[in-house]
């Protein structure tokens, strides 16, 4: 942990992209990992990563958790939002509780965090908000209407936040399909046949979590100091 290099708050850090980002950042800066499952976060503590339990579907829990992170490790210089919920079914079959959970995690929580992000008590003046979107925002498929809408809303939020929060920056990474716990939970749909087809149709095959993390690290670095309001696709060309 090197607090002189800033403090990264990674939300949704118990698995997938969030966990990988936290692990990659830990040697170079102070990192706080936040997620619903504290037992998963505890596994990161040997790396010097702080762990804070927070279920972002509970909007009232977000601000106290962020305040705790700031109190423990100082103002935030990078807020990386990786939490997400995906439900795959015809929108006709989406029940109100499904929709509420999806919107709460994919859109409402980032909006609450955006509000906190703009506070000088919470973030440094050069702070970056980096959200994980999805190519579904721009290239939706049947069965993910609500998910696509939530990610499109998230991307609009990033652009608007970039205008309001300057000189702080706001960016997003838009991955294509990735092999993560979230997609593995839809094994009936994302089966071997799906992977083989995607691997053949996308120019560069299937993108990896590592490639997405590389892009996040670039976007939050000083090398991207004049990049804001951008959504960068990392999909191996799948959307072409």
């Amino acid at each position: 942990m090197s607090e002189g290099n800033g403090h990264a708050l990674v939300i949704g850090a118990s698995s997938g992209i969030g966990r990988a980002v936290a692990e990659r950042l830990a040697p170079s800066m102070a990192v706080t990992a936040m997620a619903r499952r504290l037992d998963r976060l505890r596994e990161l503590e040997p790396l010097g990563i702080g762990a804070i339990q927070c279920d972002v579907a509970d909007s009232a829990a977000i601000a106290p958790a962020v305040e705790q992170a700031v109190a423990e490790r100082g103002k935030i210089s990078a807020l990386i939002y990786c939490a997400g919920v995906q439900k795959i079914k015809p929108v006709r079959l989406m029940k109100a509780p499904d929709l509420r959970e999806l919107i709460a995690v994919n859109l409402e929580a980032p909006l609450i965090l955006a509000g906190l992000f703009t506070s000088k008590r919470v973030t440094t003046e050069d702070a970056v908000f980096c959200a994980i979107s999805s190519i579904a925002a721009a290239r939706p498929e049947p069965g993910i209407v609500a998910y696509s809408a939530s990610k499109a809303g998230l991307e609009a939020m990033i652009k608007a936040l970039a205008r309001e929060a300057a000189p702080r920056r706001a960016v997003a990474v838009s991955p294509g399909w990735l092999d993560t716990e979230m997609t593995q939970s839809h094994g009936a749909i994302y089966n071997e046949e799906f992977r083989e087809r995607l691997g053949k149709t996308a120019p560069l095959g299937i993108a990896t979590i590592e490639a997405v993390v590389d892009m996040i690290l670039f976007l939050i670095s000083p090398a991207a100091r004049f990049v804001t309001g951008e959504v960068v696709r990392v999909d191996a060309g799948a959307a072409l």
Partner: protein, 75 residues
């Protein structure tokens, strides 16, 4: 869940006007397309049946879906 209850749930999931019965062609009196297949995937998840998109998509009759639902159905 019994086979009859499954067929009733299937009728709802696929929004068929007439109740589905055993031995019925899925493309008969309604669409059997990718959204219909996703509807059945959702139904299978709800009842705890294990079958992937490919297998469900290849089903042509209600009997095929009953067979795929297998152990999640009684009898």
């Amino acid at each position: 869940m019994t086979v009859d209850e499954f067929l009733s749930e299937l009728t709802e999931a696929l929004e068929r006007d007439e109740p589905l019965a055993l031995g019925q062609d899925l493309a008969e009196s309604g669409e059997w397309d990718s959204l219909a297949v996703l509807s059945v995937v959702d139904l299978f998840e709800q009842i705890g049946a294990e079958a992937d998109l490919g297998a469900i998509g290849e089903a042509t009759t209600t009997d095929d879906l009953v067979a795929l639902a297998g152990g999640a159905l009684e009898g």
